[in-house]
């Protein structure tokens, strides 16, 4: 975005501008958007790519496909997906309760949802470990039953569920609030069952928001380090997450190897988010066509 193209819409005569766009300021805001995105997102990411270029192709492949690294991808993406799915279901439930029912203490419950956003993730990890470890409040009852959560991959999933919870609730809640009650009433008067109302009327309306929340929770979980590291146990091949592999590589001053793994993570995440966005667009068209 050059200065000339930036100022062109401003300099143009009002008549022409009105002919082109109803809303003024497109050039300026787009220019600013690109500039801002470059500074905050694209430049750091390109630095990542450049660091990786110091490796040959073979070195790159070895760095990102060694058994320990492969095991960590499986754990990171698997646990993140699982945690995001759990949040999809229970986040919807929470949003539903918060929107549709009136009860005392609702404001507090509503505020509690945001806590995982605000809490330093290391604190979350340490408290979850303290509760779930063999001598913790919950862990002491589970251990005699042979259930171990802390220091296992299950602990990783729990930490990721915790940090991802607000995303689904906060994206679905406003959409659910805006949903027109009349549609549901109309469906009832036309003889629809409750299940039919939910699947045919409510769900199509909130699906885009649900998918957005899911994608955000998923993306957040993939990059999470602070909370997971305390609860995971960090055993190679079993409970090592990919961010830990990256830290481990930095610890041995293997900058290029660390960025190589980071690039792989980035590409996989980007593709997954594209797929989810595509799914959302498809759903919207599908919903639009059926309406």
């Amino acid at each position: 975005m050059t200065a000339a193209s930036l100022s062109a819409p401003l300099a143009a005569a009002p008549v022409r501008r009105a002919a082109k766009k109803v809303l003024p300021g497109f050039g300026l805001t787009l220019g600013y958007t690109l500039f801002y995105l470059s500074i905050i997102v694209l430049i750091p990411l390109s630095a990542l790519l450049f660091k990786t270029f110091s490796l040959t192709w073979e070195q790159f492949v070895t760095a990102v496909t060694s058994p320990r690294v492969m095991a960590s991808y499986r754990l990171t993406f698997g646990a993140s997906l699982f945690a995001a799915l759990v949040n999809l279901v229970f986040g919807l439930l929470l949003a539903w309760v918060l929107v549709r029912y009136k009860f005392s203490g609702k404001k507090i419950v509503d505020a509690l949802v945001d806590l995982p956003f605000a809490l330093p993730t290391a604190v979350a990890g340490i408290s979850l470990t303290a509760i779930l470890a063999g001598n913790g409040w919950i862990g002491q009852y589970l251990e005699p039953l042979g259930i171990k959560l802390a220091f296992t991959p299950a602990g990783v999933v729990i930490a990721l569920i915790f940090i991802g919870l607000p995303f689904v609730v906060r994206t679905v809640q406003p959409v659910l609030e805006d949903a027109e009650k009349e549609l549901e009433e109309a469906a009832t008067s036309l003889g629809a069952t409750r299940l039919q109302i939910f699947t045919r009327v409510i769900l199509p309306h909130i699906t885009p928001a649900l998918l957005t929340g899911f994608a955000m929770a998923f993306a957040r979980a993939i990059g999470e380090y602070g909370s997971v590291i305390f609860i995971a146990g960090n055993m190679p091949m079993i409970s090592e997450i990919t961010p830990l592999i990256i830290i481990g590589k930095l610890e041995q001053y293997d900058y290029a190897g660390a960025t190589a793994v980071a690039v792989v993570m980035l590409v996989i995440s980007f593709v997954l988010l594209l797929v989810i966005n595509g799914l959302q667009a498809w759903q919207r068209r599908f919903a639009g066509a059926s309406a």
Binding site: P67, G233, P236, E251
Partner: protein, 330 residues
């Protein structure tokens, strides 16, 4: 903009530090040395005032040893680095920030203090752990730091390996022993403090392998009598190397001060402060004075069996090395 910023900074410096000409030294150091250097800085500032009449200020920057090395490499203006792993200073030397012959610049390979790896067991030693061989018994859970993420973990691994060599074993026997040992490790902690908290707060594991100096802080934080320290028949000398960061001192003109700061670590005062923090002094007299803290133990150095920490890193800890094989080769 920049002049305004400088003015603001200068006024802050004036308001807080009194004299604007007072030299400031930044010590980049590892996490658990925070308390030691707090005491040492006070002693050094007084000593410097007495001998030269100049007021100085010493700031500390702490993180994991190699995290500090990385920040210094990326531009943190530390005048001196005081680490717990020689490879961290070696990395800075490779980058040209520290003199290539930094180990020759101060006595004892530029390590004024050392530590060693010992065992912490639960009070009364219910599993009867006395030596390295007891750690590989079935049913014994050992907590150690991941050698990939912490110097503490690398030292524990090398101590275990070296103990076999010290008693006359071959490298193959050492590899077998270490393999068995890590089979008994249920959790690899991220760093030294994380390991301590897993062992004491999470109540997980029967024995914790850690630095001798951790024993003191465990007793201080969790109360005496929760754990017993067990000294194995032999263990490793873990050096705490120091160096002047040439890039910074050239820029700031603090070369002499930085050298005096590190040299004073070797003085009786410096050595005694270290001893009070359970860090082994080099001075035999002070080591003897604190013999109730530093139990006699047969020690071997990294050089004895591994050449150098840098070589050990390549063979054992880098990706695809001996440590990875413990988990990936069945």
């Amino acid at each position: 903009m920049t002049t305004k910023l400088k003015l603001a900074l200068a006024s802050i410096a004036l308001a807080t530090g009194g004299l604007a000409s007072a030299q400031t030294l930044l010590n980049g150091s590892y996490d658990v040395a925070r308390e030691f250097y707090k005491d040492y800085n006070a002693a050094f500032i007084a000593h410097y005032k007495k001998t030269t009449g100049k007021d100085i200020k010493v700031d500390q920057s702490h993180a994991g040893s190699s995290a500090v090395a990385r920040s210094v490499a990326d531009g943190l203006d530390a005048d001196v680095v005081t680490m717990n792993t020689t490879t961290d200073i070696g990395f800075l030397a490779d980058k040209g920030l520290v003199a290539k012959d930094w180990t020759q610049r101060f006595p004892n390979d530029a390590s004024p203090t050392t530590s060693t790896m010992v065992f912490l067991v639960r009070n009364g030693n219910p599993k009867g752990i006395k030596d390295w061989a007891d750690l590989v018994k079935p049913g014994v859970q050992v907590i150690v730091v991941n050698p990939k993420t912490g110097g503490n973990g690398r030292m524990a691994y090398l101590a275990a390996w070296g103990s076999v060599r010290k008693s006359g074993g071959s490298d193959a026997q050492a590899a077998e022993f270490v393999g068995k040992l890590y089979k008994n490790v249920p959790i690899l902690a991220k760093g030294g403090r994380d390991a301590t908290s897993i062992f004491l707060q999470r109540n997980t594991g029967d024995v914790l392998i850690t630095f001798e100096s951790e024993v003191l802080s465990v007793n201080r934080e969790f109360g005496e009598g929760k754990v017993d320290a067990v000294y194995p028949s032999s263990s490793i000398v873990a050096e705490n190397p120091v160096a002047v960061v040439e890039r910074t001192v050239v820029k700031k003109g603090t070369g002499e001060l930085a050298k005096a700061y590190l040299a004073y670590l070797y003085s009786d005062v410096g050595q005694e402060i270290a001893a009070r923090h359970a860090i082994r002094p080099r001075s035999p007299a002070i080591l003897k004075k604190y013999s109730n803290v530093f139990k006699p133990i047969q020690q071997f150095t990294v050089k004895d069996y591994f050449g150098s920490l840098g070589e050990a890193q390549k063979v054992h800890f880098n990706d695809g090395g001996q440590f990875d094989k413990l988990y990936t080769v069945k």
